[in-house]
């Protein structure tokens, strides 16, 4: 009997380890010949721990499973948590899993599993295409930076490939600090060879021989999985000199962050790898020309690198066939917070925000009315239900005064106090500001104080004017997105939820 239990940190957080142990124990007691495989997570987190049993028809799911369910699962009972064929669960069936094709299916640390499920086909094709051909493929896929800025990935690759330097670097930004996001974590814990393959393709395409994966210290399981996978890849000569007999050399190193949110900003991240304070650099020069240790550096988000193997293996067009407008391909949307069906939903761009949170997410976990959705992390706007018709697309979100960011959606029910959330945004900015530019360093602290005065109803109208002014200063006067985007949550809260800032409704202002 073959049974699958995820080893993803979110599954472990809700008891997957105990369930796996119980399954082994019960099997031993009953003399069942059990093969227990620890997989990645499907990303259907409300069902975790999600135990899957192999049958001739496919995998049957049970979740959320507890220790007490172990016997029933092995007996074919456990009717109360039986989910039928996992592939038929609507949340999963409705997705287009390109990047997360192996999620929940394979053993993350098994290179054999990875290869059996299409792994390293992308690198093989990239090596046969050569550098210029690979860069061209990435360009034609329409892939845009999945970290938040949405810059065309192919153009970045081209710039690094054309930069003349004996030493170039590939850097993966795995400093996934945005609340409501966990897709990078799922890639690193659940499919680490995918990231290694994506970065290796980048190295081969641009002539870079060294790569760094900068992972936040808050992800101990992701760090361990990446380090183990890198060691395996090195052993199997998929990293190091002469990869797959191509003459291409590329090696990877994991670097661990130290609890600074701002290091998710690419230039601060580079400073951090160099062993400095994580302070933002002024651009230009862009990292593609002068990045890590002053050398041409391709720095991309984890999800951008993770999209690459599919694009190379299946062709740019297969990827670009998904999406809308200038947002091509799929986005692994992460639905989180106060949500009934929270998890990872990879889909082509163009689905509406309302479909994502109400239809797919199923509304709030508490069952109370859904009042606000924060899209794009701590620096993203709060969307009220009246904007749920907004299509999930870089341009449409920008037009609505928000951002797609790294794909996180955090739901809040009607008990949320939006003035408090606005205050938190300023407070978080003050806590995490690197201190290099004045609007962010000082403005965030002043912003917290101003919101405190508004909440305490001291000169409310005047202080709201001050807050709007301050947000303008932050938005246009900050060096990076931390100071520059903190106004998004603050202003959207103030604009769409004025009742939380005082009795007098405010006129709607275009942010």
């Amino acid at each position: 009997m073959k049974v699958f239990v995820p080893r993803d940190a979110a599954a472990i957080a809700v008891g997957a380890e105990r369930v796996a142990q119980a399954l082994s124990r019960v099997a031993a007691e009953k003399g069942i010949d059990l093969t227990l495989v620890r997989t990645s997570s499907r990303g259907l987190f409300w069902l975790e721990p999600l135990v899957e049993v192999e049958t001739p028809q496919g995998r049957i799911g049970y979740g959320p499973a507890t220790v007490a369910d172990a016997e029933g699962i092995l007996d074919g009972g456990a009717a109360a948590i039986a989910l039928g064929l996992v592939e038929e669960i609507p949340f999963l069936k409705r997705q287009n899993r390109l990047t997360f094709a192996r999620a929940g299916i394979t053993d993350p640390l098994s290179l054999a599993d990875y290869r059996a499920h299409g792994g390293y086909k992308g690198l093989e094709r990239a090596l046969s295409l050569g550098g210029a051909g690979t860069v061209d493929e990435v360009k034609r896929s329409g892939l845009r930076g999945r970290g938040g800025a949405g810059f065309p990935t192919g153009i970045k690759w081209d710039t690094v490939a054309r930069a003349a330097s004996p030493r170039k670097y590939i850097v993966c930004n795995a400093d996934e600090g945005d609340s409501g996001t966990f897709a990078d974590r799922m890639v690193m814990e659940g499919d680490p060879f995918l990231l290694i393959e994506g970065m290796t393709i980048a190295g081969a395409a641009t002539g870079a021989t060294k790569g760094f994966v900068y992972i936040r210290s808050e992800y101990p399981h992701g760090i361990a999985a990446m380090e183990q996978a890198i060691a395996t890849a090195r052993q199997e000569r998929l990293l190091g000199a002469d990869i797959l007999g191509s003459g291409v050399s590329f090696d990877l190193e994991v670097r661990v962050g130290a609890g600074a949110y701002v290091c998710g900003e690419e230039t601060a991240l580079l400073e951090s790898i160099e062993g400095k304070r994580g302070q933002v650099r002024a651009k230009p020069p862009i990292p593609a020309l002068r990045g890590l240790f002053g050398q041409p550096t391709m720095i991309n988000n984890t999800l951008s690198f993770a999209a690459i193997p599919f694009i190379l293996a299946e062709g740019a067009q297969a990827y670009a066939d998904f999406g809308m407008g200038r947002s091509r391909g799929t986005m692994p949307v992460q639905i989180a917070g106060n949500v009934k069906h929270g998890g990872l939903f990879e889909t082509g761009f163009g689905i509406t925000l309302g479909e994502l949170v109400e239809d797919i997410g199923g509304g709030t976990a508490t069952g109370r009315p859904l009042r606000a959705v924060q899209a794009g992390g701590p620096l993203g706007a709060y969307f009220p239900p009246s904007l749920f018709g907004t299509p999930y697309d870089y341009e449409a979100f920008t037009a609505a005064g928000g951002l797609v960011g790294h794909g996180g959606l955090v739901l809040f029910d009607d008990t949320v106090d939006m003035a408090r959330m606005a205050r938190f945004a300023m407070e978080f900015c003050a806590l995490e500001s690197c201190g290099k530019c004045t609007p962010c360093r000082i403005g965030s602290t002043r912003g917290t104080e101003v919101i405190d005065r508004i909440i305490a109803d001291r000169d409310r109208a005047a202080n709201i004017t001050v807050l709007r002014d301050l947000c303008e200063t932050l938005k246009f006067g900050s060096l990076c997105a931390l100071g520059g985007f903190t106004p998004y949550p603050v202003m959207s809260a103030l604009t769409y939820f004025p009742e939380d800032f005082g009795a007098t409704p405010l006129p709607l202002a275009a942010e």
Binding site: A13, F45, S179, R277, G278, Q279, G337, A365
Partner: protein
């Protein structure tokens, strides 16, 4: 739970040795020192500075910039409770405040017996199983007030 070693300059040199060849060795060195001694002692700063040909001010600047590096060892157990937005949406702010009140601690404080340090953390990537916390590096999700207190008590 970790048993940390008392500050030992010879041991610190040993730890630094193999890391000096890395590109940008400072953060890996600081992490390694903290892993051994539970904090980055003041006495380590001039030593690291000398080995990396940096000024003491530069090293101190880095140590003090990052939230992770401690000036003194934490308690024997560390409970890091997520306070970011997704966990807030499930009541994490209140739970954290109540836990601190129960234990008579401020955020980041350690119980008088040195058993437990409780501190906020901003996002563990467990946002669809919120509220979440990390106890000695192990993740816990779908917490409520009762389960959070149990974690604090069990540590």
């Amino acid at each position: 739970m970790h048993a940390y070693r008392a500050w030992d300059p010879a041991r610190a040199e040993e730890i630094m040795g193999p890391l000096l060849a890395l590109e940008g060795p400072l953060l890996p060195i600081l992490h390694a020192l903290q892993g051994e001694f539970g904090h980055v002692p003041e006495a380590a700063v001039p030593m690291v500075a000398a080995r990396l040909n940096l000024t003491r001010a530069e090293v101190h600047g880095v140590v003090s910039f990052y939230h992770d590096f401690r000036a003194a060892p934490a308690g024997r157990h560390v409970l890091r409770v997520c306070q970011a937005e997704a966990c807030q949406s499930m009541g994490a702010t209140r739970q954290f405040a109540d836990l601190l009140a129960q234990l008579g601690l401020d955020a980041g404080g350690t119980t008088p017996d040195g058993r437990l340090t409780v501190e906020p953390i901003y996002c563990l990537g467990l946002c669809a199983t919120a509220p979440a916390a990390l106890l000695d590096g192990e993740p816990h999700g779908r917490l409520d007030a009762g389960r959070l207190s149990e974690l604090a008590a069990a540590a």
